[in-house]
């Protein structure tokens, strides 16, 4: 947008350079430019504005292959991710022997906030002190009370719907009204009531009332295609464009950051990036560097920031950068509920996601030592009379036995809307076998050494996946249905591959001891005080609460700290 090709000739020193434009980069740029700082944001992908580029209201038959997912567009033709996926052309990564990590990247302004599920769950008090509770993993250097005011701010800015429930370790927030449940959601709740599993209104960053000049949702269920009217949270529409109106924020796209540049005093001078359009390397000078390139990419930049003063990279004096990488545990079961057959046709779209969900309910049993695994999961579910996609009508013989002709059409009309799918999203405990480092040989097309991944689930996660499978089968059976699952003991209960849930966190963790952490409790590098991290890399654990809302809150807290430190002259600006 703001081209500054002459940067070398007339170097401008910014107060802050922010690397990345997703949830973490967006919140830092927003808070700091509104506080008056001159900010430069660098994004490795292209420009994106969902209000102009969303594929909202298009039909499967408007797309090649009816909109099916491809290698270039894994989540389908209409998904908001224009350039990105499990592979990015010219930007490889590797797996060490035996590991099978998958790394999703979205190379576009706003990153993954353009297409994500908008699930917005606060971490609870237990989640910040997991080691103290069960002796596994590590404690955060902060408490829930430290972050609670920033959860408030984040929710009030981005807009999150939900209800006040007062459940254990499931903090309520500043909620907009929740949308009423769909029919199948009410039915599943009745089955959950029987099983004493809480089923409550979900908490999603989608507006059910207009706020801050953004309109309320119009219930077309297509948030994953980006919202054409800015009614869901996305970093460009909520963080970046309003910040640009201050005149304090410059945004440069196609800017692939290679390294943090440091001076002889051991402080950062800015960052160096490759302009993808010209392939020139350009340095942006800034008094403060904020990294929010996404968890693994931030670790990569730090590891690549080597100099005589930082032989292992910036923020890595402890050797912690890349360590304790985590994803979310996933497993799923499909269900067919005959009671939902042949209901009067209605529009069941609603918001782009679930209106109900099940938070973890076995804290007491775990505390009492009655469960075979340590941490919890929540349940997400979907179904109903949704937009047909190619693939949705496969395997009909599993229900109908087979057939063809007018009778088959009649049966399918009855069966449409009776499928409900359940997915668990659970906490992974950080382990020493799961980390990333620099591949000793490979580089990307920009000449930047690439990441090599090492990953292992532990028995805690595998047994959690088994519990998910058992629970989903029980819910489906209780609702009078038939279940379908590929999960068994042979495949570790269908547990997802590492990275597959796209909740990677950790790798540049915060802590209270510079020997065992890269960042202090303000996400400030212990060994380079004008470098901060505001994405999910500082996370010490990965509760089952999806990371984005905590990225927003933690990034806000870090950004306020930066502004205060500048005011107190502890940091230059």
């Amino acid at each position: 947008m703001v081209a500054m090709a002459q940067v070398r000739a007339t170097p401008k020193t910014y107060d802050v350079v922010v690397v990345g434009s997703g949830a973490g980069g967006g919140v830092a740029a927003h808070v700091l430019s509104l506080a008056g700082a001159k900010v430069c944001m660098l994004e490795a992908g292209g420009w994106y504005d969902g209000t102009k580029q969303s594929a909202m209201f298009k039909w499967p038959y408007n797309a090649p292959h009816r909109g099916a997912g491809t290698k270039e567009k894994p989540f389908g033709y209409f998904d908001a991710t224009l350039l990105g996926g499990w592979q990015v052309p010219g930007e490889p990564y590797t797996n060490a022997g035996g590991s099978d990590w998958r790394w999703w990247r979205a190379r576009m302004l706003g990153g993954r906030t353009n297409h994500y599920g908008r699930i917005s769950l606060r971490m609870g008090p237990y989640d910040f002190k997991p080691y103290s509770r069960d002796g596994k993993g590590f404690d955060w250097p902060i408490t829930y009370e430290d972050l609670a005011p920033y959860y408030d701010k984040a929710e009030e800015l981005i807009g999150v719907f939900g209800t006040h429930e007062g459940l254990e370790n499931t903090p309520d927030g500043k909620f907009l009204p929740a949308p009423a449940p769909r029919g199948y959601e009410r039915l599943v709740k009745m089955a959950c009531d029987k099983l004493k599993i809480p089923c409550i209104p979900s908490r999603l960053a989608i507006l059910t009332r207009p706020i801050h000049g953004r309109p309320a949702c119009h219930y077309c269920a297509q948030c994953g295609r980006a919202c054409g009217v800015n009614a869901n949270f996305n970093s460009p529409g909520v963080h970046i464009f309003p910040a640009m109106k201050t005149g304090n924020l410059d945004v440069r796209t196609d800017a692939m950051v290679r390294a943090v540049v440091t001076g002889p005093d051991g402080l950062a001078r800015g960052v160096s990036y490759i302009d993808k359009k010209t392939r020139n390397e350009i340095t942006v000078s800034a008094k403060i560097v904020v990294l929010a390139a996404s968890c693994c990419e931030t670790a990569r930049i730090l590891l690549n920031s080597k100099s005589s003063q930082f032989p292992n990279g910036v923020a890595n004096s402890s050797g912690q950068v890349g360590r304790y990488l985590m994803d979310t545990v996933g497993a799923d079961v499909g269900g067919y509920l005959p009671i939902l057959e042949d209901l009067p046709p209605r529009n069941e779209d609603g918001v782009g996601g679930m209106h109900m969900y099940m938070p973890w309910w076995n804290y007491g049993e775990q505390k009492a030592g009655k469960m075979p695994f340590a941490r919890g999961y929540h349940i997400e579910f979907g179904g109903g009379r949704g937009m047909p996609n190619p693939g949705d009508f496969g395997g009909s013989e599993e229900i109908l036995g087979g057939g063809y002709g007018v009778e088959l059409k009649r049966q399918l009309r009855r069966a449409y809307g009776a499928f409900v799918g359940f997915a668990g999203r659970g906490e992974m405990i950080p382990n020493a076998d799961s980390y990333c480092d620099l591949d000793p040989d490979k580089v990307d097309q920009w000449g930047i050494p690439v990441l090599r991944f090492h990953f292992k689930w532990s028995q805690d996660e595998i047994l959690q996946a088994k519990h998910m499978q058992d629970t989903f089968k029980e819910i489906i059976t209780t609702a009078g249905g038939k279940y379908f699952t590929g999960g068994s003991a042979e495949n570790n209960w269908g547990i997802s591959r590492g990275g597959e849930i796209i909740h990677e966190v950790g790798a540049v963790r915060m802590g209270s001891d510079p020997q065992t952490s890269a960042l202090n409790q303000y996400c400030q590098a212990w060994d380079c005080k004008n470098v901060f991290v505001t994405d999910a890399a500082p996370f010490v654990s990965n509760a089952d609460k999806n990371p984005t809302l905590t990225i927003s809150a933690l990034g806000w807290r870090t950004s306020e700290y930066i502004a205060e430190q500048v005011k107190k002259r502890n940091l230059a600006a």
Partner: protein, 213 residues
């Protein structure tokens, strides 16, 4: 957000104007009407196979009082394109081989029994063959692989049909539009579910017993 309810007067005004906003959003993002494109160029099926595919698709999804047939919905073209697409995406042509092999068997079997290829046989003769392979659990052992072919072909036909304009209206899927106010589950739908919870329900996918309150 201005007051304790979280809704300011300005917000109330905006809520009142949501239908207008929604209509504007739809107008801005609506797809122009689909027009019939130039004749489809086949990538996989030859003329002989194409005749069989068209007949087979319409045996699976014929026109009825609700909607048109598979060929009217462009399903043969969808399948031809899909087989080529999977070849590119999967890096192998296993799916195309299964479909082409199944079509070859249909002709072979029809010639053996009726001395006509599958597309040229009478409808009753075509159905006589399909009745052997359209219900996998009933298929004779020597027909199992052709039943597996038919299940795959039925999947392709249904996926193509129900993602077409004709098929979407047949289900019917009634969304993909701006809704001014979300009201949750329709009372008529919930009444029906409650009635089934109380009295039980005999479903296609099994019987549901009455639930204990």
């Amino acid at each position: 957000m201005a007051d304790k309810s979280g809704v300011s007067r300005r917000d109330l005004f905006q809520i009142a104007s949501v239908p207008t906003l929604a209509a504007a959003a739809m107008a801005a993002h609506a797809e122009p009407p689909v027009t019939q494109t130039a004749a489809y160029q086949r990538k996989v099926f030859n003329d002989q196979e194409w005749r069989a595919v068209r007949v087979l698709c319409d045996l699976i999804v014929p026109a009825d009082e609700h909607s048109g047939s598979a060929t009217q919905a462009g399903v043969p073209e969808f399948i031809d394109d899909w087989l080529d697409f999977r070849k590119q995406e999967d890096g192998n042509d296993d799916l195309a081989a299964q479909v082409l092999g199944g079509l070859a068997w249909l002709d072979r079997e029809s010639l053996r029994l009726f001395q006509k290829d599958f597309a040229g046989a009478a409808v009753s003769q075509q159905k006589q063959i399909l009745d052997r392979i359209a219900w996998p659990s009933r298929a004779a052992d020597e027909d199992k692989r052709w039943a597996a072919f038919f299940s795959k072909f039925r999947d392709l036909t249904l996926n193509g049909f129900y993602t077409s304009k004709i098929g979407i209206s047949d289900l019917p899927y009634l969304g993909n539009m701006a809704v001014p106010e979300w009201k949750g589950c329709d009372p008529a739908v919930w009444a029906k579910i409650e009635e089934r919870l109380k009295n039980g329900y005999k479903g296609l996918g099994g019987d549901v017993k009455p639930w204990q309150a």
